[in-house]
Symmetry: D2
Subunit: 368 residues, 4 copies
């Protein structure tokens, strides 16, 4: 082949994200009608069984470009109690709140209700006073949290210490809590974990889909940030960047979880998020041919793994397409004749809208 021009297919990372400090920033575009806030709503410090002073959680969040974090110390598990016998269970929240006072970072109050199964561990966030949740009775504590108008979600329902087979399953108590509005969300992702069953429970019971780091040690170490790793976050779609906005988003189940390169959520938010993340540019027919070139640019921190489901074939790819995070790739579409518009469709394999199920997106490529 007498080729003259070099055509680089390999994706490349944008210059502005190429140094390592920028690379750790978690970035997702807004979607129509909503801001996309990156939230980590399950974290620990020395005030329960974590390994850092609360201010470190603020520093980590700023480095990771988060919009909000919650303070969720265990109420009942206090291994440092002899060293830190603080009577006020709101103390970690207060420290973080103060540390973030001049930053564009929202600190959300919370507590982890730490019980045997059922109901296991749950986070109550947006609470007024954690101290009032120090209640012996496993049910009464939920009533109190609800009284404080908390948003409550079930933590790591697949935890092998509480469920040997790691299969999340609602007990009667959970069903009751859900029915009474005292269990509003469920962790589909906790740390490195992922639970298909938890996702199904969320879908079946109209619960908010949650993903959290549940960090105890250092984000940098646990998620190997300098090798390109990220903590899991819950993307909350809000009307405004505020505590109220996040609460409203959570209460209305407007979330997508980002973990590793997975995006997990309801199609209603998952599809707009993917559509906002992948933009097209430099659309033109390859000289004197029926091959249409287009740059697909990924504006997000997730890598996309796409499976072509359209009728078109590609000149430079099989049906499997990868677009690295914050990078772009050139796609060459065989349109067979000269067209003004081409409709591509992809199954987004790294996006999950139900167990073993992946949303499909459409990409309309318009030739000028």
């Amino acid at each position: 082949m007498v080729r003259i021009l070099l055509i680089l297919f390999t994706t490349f990372v944008f210059a502005q994200n190429s140094d390592s400090e920028n690379h750790r920033k978690i970035i997702f575009p807004d979607i129509p009608g909503y801001k996309t806030l990156k939230c980590d709503l399950h974290q620990h410090t020395v005030f329960s069984d974590g390994k850092v002073w609360p201010t470190i959680r603020v520093d980590e969040a700023l480095k990771d470009n988060l919009d909000a974090i919650a303070v969720t110390e265990h109420l009942e598990y206090q291994p440092h109690k002899n060293d830190i016998p603080h009577p006020d269970r709101n103390r970690a929240y207060e420290i973080e709140k103060k540390a973030a006072s001049e930053e564009d970072l929202i600190i959300i109050s919370g507590a982890e209700i730490t019980r045997n199964m059922p109901p296991g561990h749950s986070n109550a966030i947006f609470i007024d006073d954690a101290n009032k949740l120090l209640i012996e009775d496993s049910l009464q504590v939920f009533y109190e949290a609800k009284k404080q108008d908390a948003f409550i979600f079930w933590n790591h329902p697949d935890w092998t210490r509480q469920k040997k087979d790691a299969v999340a399953e609602l007990t009667d108590m959970h069903k009751m809590l859900i029915q009474k509005g005292m269990l509003n969300g469920i962790e589909v992702v906790n740390g490195w974990g992922f639970s298909d069953e938890a996702l199904q429970i969320a879908l079946d019971n109209n619960l908010t889909i949650m993903g959290t780091s549940d960090i105890h040690g250092l984000i940098d170490w646990e998620y190997e940030v300098h090798k390109g790793g990220h903590r899991p976050v819950t993307l909350v779609f809000t009307k405004e960047k505020s505590v109220t906005g996040i609460k409203d988003g959570l209460n209305n189940r407007r979330t997508v979880v980002f973990s590793k390169n997975y995006l997990i959520g309801r199609d209603e938010f998952l599809v707009p998020l993917i559509n906002a993340s992948i933009v097209t540019k430099e659309i033109k027919y390859r000289n004197d041919s029926f091959v249409l070139e287009v740059i697909l640019k990924n504006l997000s921190s997730t890598e996309f793994t796409l499976k072509n489901t359209s009728k078109y074939k590609f000149h430079n790819a099989s049906d499997l397409i990868k677009i690295e995070s914050n990078a772009q790739t050139k796609l060459m579409i065989k349109t067979l004749e000269e067209l003004n518009e081409v409709l591509l469709t992809f199954q987004v394999l790294n996006a999950i809208n139900a167990p073993n199920s992946h949303p499909e997106i459409s990409l309309s490529i318009k030739v000028d």
Copy 2:
């Protein structure tokens, strides 16, 4: 969650491959009964329209850890003819042969028969004398190549300069050549290109599946080697590492093409190659649970994208699994009860055995 041990899910690159010179080496394991030889069988130098002296092709091949390269100058396209009016069309081969004389690299003679369509461009390799292929008649040149017992393959059948729609299609002339054993293979991959239709033609007509760089400039620049890119190669499965071995492999269609992260071939060789590339280790039940942990180690230069098709779900992954090249990842399998053996099955999405079709592999995990 009261977590004590840090568990790293993220894949990591093995130490021995971590410096950039080693990273460029293309590595694939042997398969049962055959050696896996990495071959780039379509290359140009200044002796036709390439930009380097032939010795550079030898140096590049050694850096890339190839086993064999072919010298395939255009017979009819000689843009440097005024500067390099060499009468002997075997000259580039001789230079490379000499340059590789003390290296463990096989140099294969060849020539690119460079015609309009039909039949377009074809490579004849393992030839005795390129000069004798300087024949006006487009058919006679194939007879001569066959007389020299060449292995002949159709180059970039999807080239837009010769096929505006980039759809590879057999003409009557091609059919005749195939029938007479004068067309033995077809490029499914040429440079950054990929052709589903060429793959289908190979399958339908019993042709050898080929992938080549068709390099004219520098491998380092065209494939962005220092960003982790690789040239395409044809993996040839041979009884021995020799010219004869490779010819035998090609004649018997024992090939898999490696391009970007795709592996393209017949199941007969694709599946054993994948099986040899992914090994399991450190199999054990996670403490006091029904979650079986296993390390999947990728011994090859391709990244694997796997879709879980088994009945088991994973504790730390959805149905989409990625294993980076020369790296490993930990998988946690929910076996629901304690088992002695677990059979995982995956569709290998980056492997292609037919248009839009991906082989399935089985992975038997045995607990000691």
Copy 3:
């Protein structure tokens, strides 16, 4: 120039240190008669004004390949006192001791005597009981530390909050403490700081030369470990790897400080350390010439900056030579005739044996 062989001058990093986790390990060879122990003897946790639970200090030290760390909480400065009103000032030490119980890491007890000037801040290490150091009188606390047979060193004598001009200077009280053996060392390096005057004080008063991180936050962040940074450490030359060995080393002033790429110490230990760090190999005359080639390999974590002071000139370098950490470089020596042995001498500019003074080393290159 008709050059045939490629000769790479540029230093390259050894394969075994090339991944980022290994790269952070601080490595220095032993010297004749002594083990070289890497020690960070000034650190804080939440038990005074640090930001991490003590176990993180153990984890950091293991990642950095340290041999020993000391626990040196402020006795008098307790900003977290309301939250952590622990009565036992040995608590952080106990936690670290337990955390390191199965590791090859020595934890040394200690406390930071935190006073206004004079005497400023001092660390007493190898103490029996920190609680007994809670003494109002600034002098009595030193008597008590000495009674416990502590090794005591003056911290950041150039601290601008206590000395506006950052010029370390002995007060009468310091002179008295030194005279009575109650001040045994001085920090020449604290964090990013370096003090020539402190070094001069150490030399003039027979004090041990110390360098510490004085870490409050995270080592990874403050020293940009993943960009290749390291914390400062005191290299202690010991007869054995034990608390006793380190104490003996410190008491006998057998130290070199490693900070950034500086090595600071007395010639007695500095020169053997440099000699052990730079080894020669592959010595041979360049074909048919009077140019002697030698590989200089740097076995340490510091980069060396050398100034040639020998009579020989180099064929591939000026008088300024750099050898990167854990890397090697080829030097070509113009010997003018064929010699059996060549004696090179270098001033080691990154090594400091007194203010503005750098040791000279000899390198004997023997041709086989």
Copy 4:
């Protein structure tokens, strides 16, 4: 030390240069009165004993951000003669000229007069016709070159094949050539080589100081570009970016050689270049102290190794300061009292103005 703010001393690479393609660009600022042009004036292609077609030299130069390259094929050494028996010795120049016709890159005609000693090899550049230099007599060829108004420089005077001890030395013939204006420059740097004696000859005989790659193979491989290496270049200080401008600059000895991290030249140009390369910013007194902070930013592709020779000491460094290429570092100056202006002086150890001699620069730090 109760430290609140994190202060990072370690230099960091600017974001805009952080991806590898940008990193290879050779960058130096202009100096007062002159443009700083980056020139590689000694290169080979297949038209003598090089390994690439001439267009590759153009591509490499563009990637390296050069302003000019010369084409200097051996006149008398033609190992590819049988393959490339071109009668016109200007051919490589013509090819490069055409390839660069739409680029901002100057191609300079030239030829390498390739003789035994004396006079060894010399480059004549800015010639009208290389063919006319095909003259048997070693002296007549210089007359012819001069007749064409060439700028002529002695190549690798320290080449061990022609001078076993690698000591550059003028012969009577060289002296005569110099006297008659037929030898105008001398390579102090050729490839990885460096010659103090050549530098002394340049200074003693009023010759232009030259540094070239003398590239035969690939710049990427020989200089390990993707590990941060660069080819040597001659920085020519010109009134305009043109062939004429460069010729004028060379004829008037307005050069500095950049090789590895060395800068080699006359103080007249070396010092302004260093002054333009190192700029100061963010000058301010550290809160409530006599420590003046200043950021030193290096706008060039060389790393600077500075030795403090001023009366001031630094709070965060010894007398040895390093500023990485295209990076910055913070320096803390102990001014002992509050000053409006501080004059720092440094010996620039990586800059060479004579054998074993380094220029001194002044840096005036003005406090607003």
